[in-house]
Structure formats: C-alpha cells, structure tokens
C-alpha cells in the first residue's frame, strides 16, 4: 500500500481502533482480577496477560497516531464513551471466574483469527506489529484453552459453571466480528478473511471443535450483530467504567506517570 486512498486509510483506522480498544478493555478488565483469581499462579498469569494486552493496545494506538489520530494517553484517558469501539463483551461485567475463562477463551480464539486476517493488509507497520504480538499472544490462547479444559473436566460443579457461562456469553459475542469499515476495503486488500461472515465461520469452526473435545455443549453459531455493533453512544455502563478506569490518573492529569 504505497499510496493508500482515503477510503483505505479510514478503513485501516477503524480496524486498528476496534482492535486497540478490545485489547485495552481486556487488559484493564483482566487487571481487576488480580488477587481475586483462584490461586497464586493464576494471579501471576493474569498479571502478565493483562500487561501484554495493554502493551498491545499502546502499540496499536501509536499506529493510529501515525495515521493522524491523537496519542495513546489522550485516547485512553480523555476520549468520550461515544468514540470507543471495543466489542461489548470486552467491557461486560464478569459474574464468575468460569465466565471470565469462557470469555477470554472466546476472545483469544477470535483475536488469533483476527490477527491472521489483518496481516493480509499490505501496511508494513501493521504487519510488523502483528508479528510482534503473535509471539506474545501464543501463550494466551494456550493458557485459556488449558483453563477451559480444566474447568470442563473438573467435575459436575465446575462443569455446570462453564455451561452457565457459555450460555450467558454467547449472545454477547456477535459484535466482536464487526469493525465498522466499508466492505470495499477488504476487497482492495485481498483480505476477504476480514469480512464479518468469514471471521464468524472461522471462529465457529474452532470453538465447535474445542467444545466437542471437552464434551461441552456447543450453543450453535454466533449470531449476526446488529447495526449498533461496537458503538456505545447509549451505553449506561461505559461512562461509569471509564470514570473508574481513569480515577487514579485523574488525580494528577498533568503528572508524568
């Protein structure tokens, strides 16, 4: 992409922003589990994984800055709720450890598919960033797979927690696959894998196979998102979440953190 067109730059920005916001939210939500996970090893794992996600978000915000957007600090600490474009699942409150494990497992499977699809876009800074992330992310998917398998095989009680969590999260997965860009962009890039329908099928295939292997019930294909996907203009919970997330930083906005 030597001389990207305006359509391509706009599309590229919405793709990167959606991913940056997902990674930020997942990292931030993951950090709230610290000292609350079932054991010490898991606390260490969640601290590393959350730090990774926040590092990835920071890199993606830097890519956006190179494309003319404000810097990472402004994006995270000053942006209004209407301009965040994470998937709703990334900010949804978690009611149990099993729900968090199911959510993260689904997210990691999706994120893996998304990174591979995004790597088709001929924008060298993005390709290099994805490659760097791949090395770190490989540990995440492995980890949540092993937690899923443990919970699924941990006896009737833990299994019932997973079953409940899967049913609770399934309807919330839909807008992960949407990104708000225009369809012609991925045709221009020969990146058909980015089409929401293609990402959904790839996701359904992997998750169905895994759940069957763990003898869990697969609730069927993920539903198609509605037009409000990844838009939070009317969210009642996001303003409060952002305020909570920014609380410490806002003690000294001008300070050097």
């Amino acid at each position: 992409m030597k001389h990207p067109t305006t359509i391509q730059i706009t599309a590229l920005k919405s793709l990167i922003l959606a991913m940056a916001d997902d990674e930020w939210m997942m990292g931030d939500r993951g950090a709230t589990w610290l000292a609350l996970t079932p054991d010490l090893e898991e606390d260490l794992a969640m601290s590393s994984i959350s730090q990774d996600e926040i590092g990835h978000a920071a890199l993606l915000y830097t890519l956006l800055e190179e494309l003319g957007e404000p810097g990472a600090d402004t994006m995270v600490y000053e942006r209004g709720p209407e301009n965040w474009h994470h998937a709703v699942i990334a900010q949804h409150p978690t009611h149990s450890w099993a729900e968090w494990v199911v959510r993260r497992y689904c997210y990691e499977v999706f994120d893996d598919i998304r990174r591979k699809a995004l790597a088709r876009i001929p924008y060298p800074p993005l390709i290099a960033s994805l490659k760097k992330m791949d090395a770190e992310e490989s540990y995440h998917l492995l980890h949540f797979r092993s937690l899923m398998s443990m919970l699924a095989r941990g006896g009737p009680l833990s299994r019932s927690y997973v079953d409940t969590a899967i049913l609770a999260d399934w309807p919330l997965l839909a807008d992960l696959f949407e990104w708000g860009g225009r369809d012609e962009a991925w045709v221009l890039w020969d990146a058909g894998q980015l089409a929401p329908s293609a990402m959904r099928s790839a996701f359904d295939l992997v998750v169905q196979r895994d759940l069957i292997a763990w003898e869990l019930e697969w609730p069927g294909p993920v539903r198609v998102a509605d037009r409000a996907a990844r838009h939070h203009d009317n969210s009642k919970t996001l303003p409060e979440l952002l305020q909570h997330m920014r609380e410490v930083r806002h003690i000294a906005l001008a300070g050097n953190w």
Binding site: S48, Q51, E53, S129
Partner: protein, 146 residues
C-alpha cells in the same frame, strides 16, 4: 563518539531487575550511531514491559554529559534467541534459567539438575515462566522463549 564506544557505555545499563544482565547482551539495542549526534534505537523485549521508560532514562544518564536521542522501535521483533551467550551465562549466574530450546528440558540454575518441571508458563514478570527443581527443592524462574 564511535559506535563501539557507545556500545561499551550501553553495556553499563542493565535490566532494572537483573543487575547482571546489560541491555546489549539482552539484545535490546537495534542501532547506535554517534556521527555527529548520538542516536540510539532500542527494541522492547515485551511490548507491555513497564521498564521501558526506565531503561531509556538510564541510557540517557549513562551517556551524560553528552546529549543523546533514545527511542524504541516497537515493530522491531525481539526474540529470546537474540540474547548473547555472555548474557545467558549472566542470567543463569543471577539464578534465572536462560531461554530454553525446549520448555520441558530446563536445567536448574541453582544446582544444575535436569529433574525440573514447569509449574506455570507465567512468572513474576512478563518475560519469565515458573519452574520447580525436584532435586534441590527450590522454585526458580526461566526466561520465556519467544
């Protein structure tokens, strides 16, 4: 200042948590030039590493009173194989096993025994995994392979 002299100075800057391991042996230095301005490009081991700003600051300090420009190129891929042999030896000396070829075959950095197992792929920092030695009965950490 010649690139060689700059690198020598950079060898005095160490990982903030591993005082035996310098950033050159760690493989973090991408380029260093001093003609006429000193420009140093580093790469992060892990993108989310909270020590990056601290390291950039330490580099500036090490080169004082000369001025230098330090930046991180986050798209330069660092791999655990970029660590030098002396770096691996110093890591081991400090009590952390260097990045292994096979995560299931890590000799204990404390007693040398091969009778060890991984207790978690994650550790006290982003770059480490947790292990246990069955012979000296000590937990230890291994630098993750990425």
């Amino acid at each position: 200042m010649s690139p060689h002299e700059i690198l020598d100075t950079l060898k005095t800057v160490t990982d903030p948590e591993i005082p035996t391991l310098n950033i050159v042996d760690l493989g973090m230095v991408v380029s260093a030039s001093g003609d006429p301005d000193i420009v140093i490009v580093l790469r992060p081991t892990y993108l989310g590493c909270p020590a990056l700003d601290w390291i950039a600051q330490a580099v500036r300090k090490a080169l004082e009173p000369l001025e230098c420009q330090v930046s991180f190129d986050r798209t330069q891929i660092w791999s655990s194989t970029d660590m030098t042999e002396p770096g691996r030896a110093r890591l081991s000396q400090f009590g952390i096993a260097p990045p292994p070829d096979d995560a299931n075959m890590v000799p204990c950095p404390l007693c040398g025994s091969n009778n060890t197992h991984q207790s978690s792929p994650f550790g006290s920092t982003l770059c480490r995994s947790s292990y246990y030695c069955q012979d000296c009965r000590q937990p230890f950490e291994t630098w993750k392979r990425i």
